[in-house]
Symmetry: C2
Subunit: 325 residues, 2 copies
Amino acid sequence: MANIRDLAKEAGVSVATVSRVLNGHPYVSEEKRKAVWEAVEKLNYSKNIQAVHLAKGRTAIVGVMLPYIHHPYFSAVIEGISKEALRYGYQLLLFQTNYEVERELEALERLRMRQMDGLIVCSHEVDWEVFDAYQEDGPIVLCEQVERYDFFTVYIDHYQAFVRALRYLIKKGHRRIGYCIGRTTGPNSQARAAAYQDVLREVGALPRRQWVFDGCLFLEDGKRVMEQWIAMEERPSALLVTSDQVAAGIVLHARRIGVRIPDELAVIGFDNDPLAEMLGITTVALPHFTLGERAFRLLHHWLETGRVARKQEELPAQLLVRDTA
Amino acid sequence: MANIRDLAKEAGVSVATVSRVLNGHPYVSEEKRKAVWEAVEKLNYSKNIQAVHLAKGRTAIVGVMLPYIHHPYFSAVIEGISKEALRYGYQLLLFQTNYEVERELEALERLRMRQMDGLIVCSHEVDWEVFDAYQEDGPIVLCEQVERYDFFTVYIDHYQAFVRALRYLIKKGHRRIGYCIGRTTGPNSQARAAAYQDVLREVGALPRRQWVFDGCLFLEDGKRVMEQWIAMEERPSALLVTSDQVAAGIVLHARRIGVRIPDELAVIGFDNDPLAEMLGITTVALPHFTLGERAFRLLHHWLETGRVARKQEELPAQLLVRDTA
DNA sequence: TTGTACGCGTTATCAT
DNA sequence: ATGATAACGCGTACAA
């Protein structure tokens, strides 16, 4: 493949001039400019972007760390990131981790190796401490509320969102309340657990371990929850379900087996997935797409200017009352 | 940041030796090896991957071109690609195109600039001719059946899949048959259109333009289709719906407005989405995840060995009869 | 307006 | 086993 030196020879100019022409710099005579472009044409030249990256010390690539892609929540976040990245001429490098520590560390190492200019972490397993250690290698944006460390973050206040949904259920007269969650680790999950404890105690209701359903991510998990629920001696009368997919699974399976919702079981989902709207599921709308957008913008603004208005940004959640609670 | 020369100086060896140690080459004395690793530690050294890429002429990065991410079909394909990429130590660079020609060309230009070793095209708008022109710049895998050009392809025979579903409907006595599709352009869509024409004519039934519903991608589109259907003077008695999301939208809205399925309207979805299973939707199971896997493997095998068993691979589709047709 | 020369950080070849 | 040195291809400071 032809390189910049071949072009220079062909066009009868210096490599510096070639570079200037290629990058649209001023102070190049029209005839040399023309000669260079003709050489480009003739030699079928194309820039080697790797060399550009090396020479400039930046890549206009942003890494995206996330456990899996095939999930409405994460694919919405990426879509938001992607849209903004496109807009500002950045590219996205994907790091799927499956919540494996090994994978997460590898992504961080890539930041250290300067493969990308920054990293957006959608969700993770390793401790904040680890991320903190990598902050000197490049800007990192976390999609969660962080205490004790000084990170760039864009987040939803899951504690408050949970509190609001719980209070709503309590106002409706519920005291036996449980919830479904994707996993129990991770700050978002822990915030929810705390809210659950706090609010229930507040009204003298009993938080029960067996009313917390773990591993709830997909539609099928909702079916499983419903099967467990029906088999229980003491059933909760209401469930907070941190994914509308799961909530939909619950509602659909309930219909099938003749459990009346919300009379026998009230359900509040999270996300405001189109599926929740279609099924009339009461839900806490979460701005996932916007979360991705803002995460990218924060990173981008930092990369381009070296400063930001504020390092933390909170996004609102909103309870949408429909038919299931 | 410390570089390899700093290491050499610190360890009292040459850069060549440093490189050997860093890459685990043999023929290095134990003491020098130790000295180098100590220098790495002391100077907090990390490789610059951009320089590695430049020097080696390859990146172990694969590009993925797709219109959007936030859709069950595409996110399943990526998940398949991602899983295999992880396994073989490759990284994924995302090119979201929104089916805009401009974006697609940009992705191809990136291949030309050697930003990645190869490209997987999940779906696209531009003509095959364009892709053909870029084949010399790196291996390209298309996820569709291609005639007239010699591409790497992994595909589902959508013509046959459609034929089989249509024949099933006809055997059930349906003659007024329509279908829902994501878009009308693109080889997969055209194969389906051809199957529709061919099979209906075969039995003397009438293919009708107004029974072809375009722009059907998401759940909400199913609702829209149902509203259009109910408003029709002459309604089809059966619909092939090329996305289970849309099929679910149809089925759910039908329930709501009291349209009996399959009696008044038979529905066959595509994908075998969990939602289809939960709703008892008859569907044509399509191996999206596997498609992604195979696409990556094909590319990977070519990159590593320079040859493949065969450049084209067909994946099976299977009709799963449930309750809606 | 143009060219020379060096820097970016590695890898790889070729001596020794 | 080890070291000089030449690629890899581009950007740019500096000089002219």
